[in-house]
Subunit: 206 residues, 2 copies
């Protein structure tokens, strides 16, 4: 089965399976079942078996899944058997929090650069990174061959920065600006906007 054949919604569930498996491993567990995994995640066991079956055979009926093996397989499927370098654009509160966040490394990603356009921030150190001038962003990203960016700039600048990132070779953008970005085919965007999440819940609040 080629990548194009797997529905995006199935791909989107794999990171949650992997996260639960990693947590079970941290807790010292070695084997799990689609029932247990489903109960942790609030999805059905059948859903998990069906999703995983799209990629291969990962367990035997009755004996469950070896957690280490299934984690490794999911990592391979998600291209996480390598560590992806990332650039952070914007050294405000969100960019700073992302630069400090220690949870990326063991999940396949690491921050290598952070950029900003304000004189007071350029040259400062955040975590292990020195904030660089956004003027050099495209060149630095291209030279380093970085494919993943986290965009934490104001909405008004998000699209122009995105255009530069795409030109520099970025293929995946985690967008924290509360705006819909337009990108060419072959570039992926995921959006993190707390207000849209909150609004989705407020619907049910009365």
């Amino acid at each position: 089965m080629t990548k194009q054949d797997i529905p995006d919604i199935v791909v989107g569930r794999l990171p949650f399976y992997l996260r639960s498996l990693q947590r079970m491993q941290q807790e010292g567990q070695q084997v799990t079942s689609s029932q247990e995994l489903g109960a942790r995640l609030g999805v059905s066991a059948a859903q998990i078996r069906k999703d995983l079956s799209q990629f291969g055979e990962f367990g035997k009926q009755g004996t469950g899944y070896n957690i280490q093996f299934l984690s490794n397989q999911l990592r391979k499927i998600l291209n996480l058997d390598q560590v992806w370098d990332m650039a952070i654009i914007g050294a405000g509160d969100v960019g700073t929090a992302l630069a400090h966040y220690s949870g990326f490394r063991n999940r396949g990603f690491q921050c290598k650069m952070i950029f900003d356009n304000t004189a007071e921030k350029i040259g400062k150190t955040i975590s292990t990174l020195v904030v660089k001038d956004v003027v050099s962003m495209a060149d630095e990203i291209q030279a380093a061959g970085i494919k993943v960016a986290m965009l934490a700039v104001p909405a008004d600048h998000a699209q122009e920065v995105t255009d530069l990132l795409v030109e520099a070779g970025i293929k995946a953008i985690l967008n924290y600006a509360p705006i819909q970005l337009s990108v060419p085919v072959g570039v992926r965007v995921e959006n993190i906007d707390p207000a849209t999440h909150l609004q989705r819940m407020s619907y049910y609040l009365k």
Copy 2:
């Protein structure tokens, strides 16, 4: 049609429609169409018309939508014709960024309290909020009648804090801890975990 009848996935798209409409308004626009809105959001015009038709009649064939009117209607549907008070739990990098974030207010939410469990943070002021001891969290939330919480504590503490929040009357939790929370029926959780978003994209990176 009752709330139970509307699919959650449709509800989940409304905040994005609202966000685009608000942006059009900021740009001085007064009328839009399902085609234009769809193009901005990367969904089909038919999808938008179908979603909106679940809630009523918001525009006339051929004349498009009045942006102000449709925004107001969507706000009412999403219970955003009021401002929801929120509590932030955890005054680390993420909690601090959330306390500073100015984008909640004009989208229906405001931070009223922030809690932490470390002596160095309690009593400090972040934005306009004084960090309070998490020991008083349940009482303060209950007394203030707060229904919405943003959870930015380490994964190891997330479930115990959630149990306290639920007991205190919280009905909606925006969860930044990289862990699946277990909550009773009637309480909603939305998750923000940048690594799962990144992993969803890395699948397509090779």
